[in-house]
């Protein structure tokens, strides 16, 4: 198993993602999409594809910086992309909202980075859904498959969306696609960060490079056992098992809330409807 396993037929993938976005937006009767425009790889690639699919006038990127993690380069990248692909960009500073939110929480603990960081992601979600409701648009998620499989996202935060066009592509595949559709190389080359606290870097936090992580996840996706993956990739078995443990334990983030069954058909279990019937 080598990185060849993750090579894409890029023109075909681009066409299918564009068709998917356009089809679903039209079937829902929505005016377009809104998405969080952090200036990072995933959001830039998604914004580019949405603009190519719907036309830039139907795509609204919202950059939502806040003072603790303010990053001028990321804002510049979001602006650069909006100009290149012709979509609208609004910059909304969420610092005051966060401050008010934290002040109102009796048990707020400024040293608890994770709880605090997740609030940032969820506040951004609130803004996106406000815009979506107000403008009759869909929220377009920007998560990729690597972070979705690892649970490396905030539940009901950046994970909340109506559609997630690149969610079946691993990070290294998103990089290929980004370059293919014309996302500037400097954006593709940036080290990924969720931007929840200062100096947060995804690969440092995950403890693994995406090039390796994606191959492990690819192996797990294809029902390979950790021992086989470790041998094929010449990796310590513990590393593969740690990824698998995290992959399994994040399932709750990828599902509707768990309930216990009483009814004839139960939401999230055996109530099965199509996304766009009638």
């Amino acid at each position: 198993m080598t990185s060849d396993a993750l090579k894409l037929d890029l023109p075909s993938v681009e066409t299918r993602i564009k068709r998917f976005i356009k089809d679903y937006v039209e079937k829902c009767g929505a005016e377009g999409v809104v998405l969080g425009a952090s200036g990072g790889l995933d959001s830039c690639t998604t914004a580019a594809l949405a603009s190519l699919s719907l036309g830039g006038h139907k795509v609204l990127g919202i950059a939502m910086p806040e003072e603790e993690t303010y990053n001028t380069t990321n804002i510049q990248h979001a602006k650069l992309l909006a100009k290149k692909f012709g979509f609208d960009l609004q910059i909304v500073d969420i610092s005051s909202t966060l401050k008010a939110c934290f002040q109102s929480i009796p048990v707020y603990d400024a040293t608890d980075k994770l709880s605090k960081g997740n609030v940032k992601a969820r506040i951004r979600m609130v803004y996106l859904y406000y815009y979506a409701n107000k403008l009759n648009r869909l929220v377009c998620g920007t998560s990729d498959k690597s972070e979705t499989m690892m649970g490396y996202f905030t539940k009901w935060g950046d994970g909340a969306a109506d559609i997630s066009p690149i969610m079946d592509l691993y990070k290294t595949q998103v990089r290929q696609l980004a370059l293919h559709v014309g996302v500037p190389a400097e954006i593709v080359a940036k080290p990924p960060s969720p931007g929840l606290w200062p100096s947060q870097l995804a690969e440092k936090e995950l403890g693994i490079k995406y090039e390796t992580l994606d191959l492990i996840l690819f192996g797990l996706e294809h029902f390979m056992k950790p021992k086989e993956i470790a041998e094929e990739l010449n990796l310590p078995i513990k590393l593969v098992e740690d990824v698998k443990r995290r992959w399994l334990s994040a399932e709750h983030k990828r599902r509707l809330p768990l309930t216990t069954k009483f009814g004839y058909r139960t939401v999230g279990k055996d109530f099965r409807l199509s996304h766009t019937p009638y």
Binding site: T15, Y24, R265, R272, L273, S274, H275, T276, P277
Partner: protein
């Protein structure tokens, strides 16, 4: 029986759960096909309802004959044309028993039906959750030839095609709802099933997006020597026309004599081994 048969491959996109709209789409295509000189028009799998109906299948399914059959029968009679389409069929004996069925209509109305024998229940497919397996692979002797019907995943199983050919099929129709990630398999299987049985094969696939699944089209008619008679567009709606010349069957049967060289004694062994798998 005409030596040459004009076939229209109606590669359509369906509206999930909306029989009325899908019947309207089919009626328009039947009319267009007739105008193009077709004797037979073929629609994709579950074209009456769309493919991914999930729990709606129970309220959408109809007995055969039933109201939707009657509506399309009227059209087939009016245009004096043969029509193949797919629908969820409700058993006449138990309301909770459904089949994934292909229907053959002719200028005199309903001719027959085939209930899908191989129901995919893996990956994104969940057909066994909703449908009962079919148990028969009939062929229909019509004015336009001896026709066998199959549905989508059936094409992965050479046994059913061999059986239909041994029963005398000249044309085997495969109606399909195949997502794009599987297109490569169907490109191979359509050619293989036609060639190994020296039979005409008409494959009609869905297009459009249902629940994020993208159906790839690529409908085609394959001749007994595996050459492509006609092929519809990929990923877009199309009404591709192709002419079948049954005289080709005899020529290919001699050049590729797979039927002459069959070894029936292998079939018993095949069954024994399959049961032990």
């Amino acid at each position: 029986m005409p030596e040459k048969l004009n076939v229209a491959l109606a590669q359509i996109s369906c509206k999930v759960g909306d029989k009325k709209q899908n019947i309207n789409i089919m009626k328009k295509k039947i009319k267009q096909a007739k105008e193009k000189g077709a004797n037979l028009v073929i629609f994709p799998e579950l074209s009456l309802t769309g493919y991914l109906n999930r729990d709606l299948a129970y309220e959408l399914a109809e007995p055969i004959p039933g109201p939707s059959i009657h509506s399309l029968e009227d059209m087939a009679k009016k245009e004096s044309i043969y029509v193949v389409f797919g629908m969820p069929e409700q058993s006449g004996k138990a309301h909770g028993v459904l089949y994934n069925t292909a229907v053959l209509l002719g200028p005199d109305g309903l001719i027959g039906k085939y209930r899908k024998m191989h129901l995919p229940t893996h990956s994104v497919f969940e057909e066994k959750r909703y449908f009962r397996l079919g148990y028969e692979a009939p062929i229909f002797e019509t004015e336009i030839g001896k026709i066998g019907l199959t549905i989508c995943y059936d094409i992965f199983f050479p046994e059913i095609y061999r059986l239909l050919r041994l029963k005398g099929s000249q044309l085997i129709i495969c109606i399909s709802a195949s997502p794009a990630v599987r297109s490569r398999f169907f490109e191979v299987f359509t050619a293989a099933r036609a060639l190994e049985n020296t039979v005409f094969l008409a494959y009609v696939n869905l297009v459009g997006v249902e629940n994020g699944l993208q159906f790839w089209g690529g409908s085609r008619i394959i001749a007994p020597n595996s050459s492509t008679v006609t092929k519809a567009k990929y990923d877009e709606e199309d009404l591709a026309m192709g002419t079948i010349d049954y005289a080709d069957l005899q020529r290919v049967e001699v050049f590729v004599p797979t039927l002459r060289d069959l070894r029936p004694e292998l079939f018993n062994s095949l069954r024994e081994q399959a049961e032990k798998l």
